[in-house]
């Protein structure tokens, strides 16, 4: 019997049992499409996170207190109070004029309630200097960022992230309006003048939800910003490397300087480069992808078991058919071919439909809001190839054993079977 004839016989059997064939393939369709979708979601998430880190601006180094880094999760002043970094560290870095450093800005981050008229929103207040705009390469939508003048004087001015501006001043232009920030659970409230709004960064960038104020302005009013030594604390120091600078070398130099300033043999700070962050994030999302992929793989396996199960039932049900085919001259090879091709056809049809629906669902999910976050999906060609190969493998495996069972059937008994 030619392969073409075998295929026709198999398709005939599949079509004559439409509902059962469809349900059997469905298991495989779900398995294949979930492999494709979940891997696309995993890789999309990874791309989203990586893009966000890249969106911070290139050539960035972040210096954080190693103590504060541990406790900053608790929010509020917890991280700040224990931070080992200070504004003078930033001054020292600038003063050292390390080649390769193009801009330095210390940050002091405080949670506060921002109130404008009837609108209010919880926001992260970032005290920094005018240089931060250069460090982060921020584009200003209206007004200006903090200026060197603000760095010196004690003016209470605020520059708003795009989302904060939209929330607080939905109707009016934010520029020139008054903004009241309420610190330390409402114990201290200060009035600021809005002097700038930053262009929307997008991609869930934190800048959109932050309010930037001059550290000099708040330092005299918020006493908790000072360490017992009188030094102004900093939660983070951002350093922009000059284009083409050797980041590893720069990290070493910064580290040496800070060790000297802090008079400690062991660093009480950590320096991350953007690549470090990307590596860490990639590692996390790879684990996520693997996890999602395994779950999908299990559903594919379950689908495969379903196919084998149905093929076994089908062989038992068609005992008489097998007997008849043997009587008219079918060899055991013909019988094996028939059942293997039948299982393979079921699986390949399931595989192709699964790929189509997996790709379709992935495209549909791309850019959809899910839990307040835009989802990114990245379809991986290798996942399509892998899912298809697995479907074919499942077909071969789940057809072979039932086919072998079919050849074990005694044609005489099969023909007697009424």
């Amino acid at each position: 019997m030619s392969l073409w004839d075998a295929l026709r016989v198999a398709v005939g059997a599949i079509v004559s049992n439409r509902l059962r064939s469809a349900l059997t393939s469905l298991g495989l369709i779900i398995g294949v499409s979930s492999v494709i979708v979940l891997i696309a979601v995993g890789q999309g998430t990874q791309k989203g996170v990586t893009d966000r880190i890249r969106g911070l601006g290139t050539d960035l180094l972040f210096i954080e207190s190693s103590v504060a880094a541990l406790t900053s999760q608790t929010g509020g002043l917890g991280g700040l109070a224990e931070s080992t970094l200070s504004q003078s560290d930033a001054e020292a870095i600038r003063a050292a004029a390390i080649p390769g450093v193009s801009a330095v800005a210390p940050l002091v981050t405080v949670e506060a309630q921002a109130v404008a008229g009837a609108n209010n929103v919880g926001a992260e207040i970032v005290g920094t200097s005018s240089e931060y705009a250069r460090v982060r390469d921020l584009e200003i939508r209206s007004g200006s960022f903090l200026t060197p003048l603000h760095d010196e004087g004690g003016a209470l001015v605020a520059v708003l992230g795009a989302h904060v501006a939209e929330t607080l001043y939905p109707a009016a232009e934010a520029l020139g309006q008054e903004l009241r920030l309420s610190f330390a659970g409402g114990r201290i409230t200060l009035a600021f003048a809005v002097t700038g709004v930053i262009e929307e960064q997008g991609g869930a960038s934190e800048v959109d939800d932050q309010v930037f104020v001059s550290t000099a302005g708040i330092a005299s009013r918020l006493r908790f910003l000072r360490a017992p030594t009188g030094d102004l604390r900093a939660t983070q120091i951002d350093v922009r490397a000059a284009g083409g600078a050797d980041e590893t070398r720069l990290k070493e130099q910064l580290s040496e300087l800070l060790l000297f300033l802090h008079e400690t043999p062991e660093p009480d700070f950590v320096i991350h480069s953007q690549d470090d962050l990307i590596d860490a994030a990639t590692e996390v999302s790879n684990t996520l992808s693997l996890l999602l992929g395994s779950v999908a793989g299990i559903s594919l396996l379950v689908g495969g078991i379903g196919v084998m199960n149905i093929m076994l039932v089908s062989v038992t049900e068609r005992t008489r058919e097998i007997g008849i085919r043997r009587a008219v001259g079918a060899t055991s090879g013909d019988i094996v071919t028939q059942f293997v091709i039948e299982a393979l056809t079921l699986c390949l049809v399931g595989g192709v439909v699964g790929i189509a629906s997996g790709v379709g669902i992935s495209l549909l999910l791309d850019g959809r809001e899910l839990g307040g976050q835009a989802m990114t999906t990245l379809i991986q060609p290798w996942s399509i190839a892998a899912a298809f190969l697995v479907a074919a493998g499942v077909g071969l495996a789940s057809g072979s054993y039932p086919a072998y069972r079919a050849t074990e059937i005694d044609p005489i008994a099969a023909l007697r079977n009424e």
């Binding site: 008849i324 009587a327 013909d334």
Partner: protein
């Protein structure tokens, strides 16, 4: 054409051996129409299955066209079965989902024969069912189904037609039609027919009648002269 020598077939379904064939020797010449009679359990169906290579003797020898075939591999038996034998069963044994034409095509399919459609249509026309090619078994009467089965048995031009109670499920008139058709085919093609039945009326169509009891042949109305003369001579002129 067919020669069985001291063939035994022992089944042991539940441990107790059952001798379905207990030393059967028979020679059937080409073109003979042989009826095998006997009560159920007499071994007549086992004998037919043995002749048709569906069953393998436990001991003894089976020569088909002068060739020993008991030792052939399963695949070789399948191929020889497909080419040399056609089966007709009491319960028709048609595949439920195939239309008549494709039922008839089946043996040709496994032979990889060419021109299958035309040959199958010819065989259907020969049994008077040219107009029923597209019908499935459920859309055919019992007599028509049996005719489809006969067409299927004949389509590959076999040497031997094996029929197991072919009229068993049919009413008398239809049964008679089927028997007339078989009789015509014998004279037309020089076909050898071995027919298993317990009805005397059906057996009357055959030129030779063999009676079986307890796995043995107890009566044979007309063994061929060659068989009588040369017992044990392997040179029986076959086809």
């Amino acid at each position: 054409m067919i020669e069985l020598r001291e063939v035994r077939r022992v089944y042991s379904p539940g441990g107790t051996p059952v001798r379905a064939l207990d030393g059967v020797s028979i020679e059937i010449a080409s073109g003979e129409f042989v009826a095998i009679r006997g009560q159920s359990g007499s071994g007549k169906t086992t004998m037919m299955n043995t002749i048709g290579l569906l069953d393998r003797p436990t001991s003894g020898e089976y020569l088909f066209a002068g060739r020993p075939v008991s030792a052939l591999s399963s695949d070789a038996r399948a191929r020889l079965r497909g080419r040399a034998f056609g089966f007709v069963f009491q319960s028709y044994n048609l595949l439920p989902r195939l239309p008549a034409l494709e039922q008839v095509e089946l043996p040709l399919l496994y032979q990889g024969a060419r021109d299958r459609r035309r040959r199958a249509a010819g065989a259907l026309a020969r049994v008077g069912l040219a107009g029923r090619a597209r019908h499935r078994p459920t859309e055919l009467s019992g007599g028509e189904q049996q005719r489809v089965a006969i067409a299927r048995a004949l389509v590959a031009d076999p040497l031997v037609l094996l029929a197991d109670e072919p009229t068993g499920a049919l009413d008398t008139a239809t049964g008679r039609d089927v028997m007339e058709l078989l009789k015509e085919l014998v004279s037309e093609r020089g076909l050898t027919i071995v027919l298993v039945t317990h009805e005397a009326e059906v057996a009357a169509y055959a030129g030779r009648s063999v009676l079986m009891r307890d796995g043995r042949i107890v009566e044979d109305s007309g063994a061929v002269p060659a068989a009588r003369a040369g017992a044990g001579a392997a040179g029986e002129p076959g086809a």
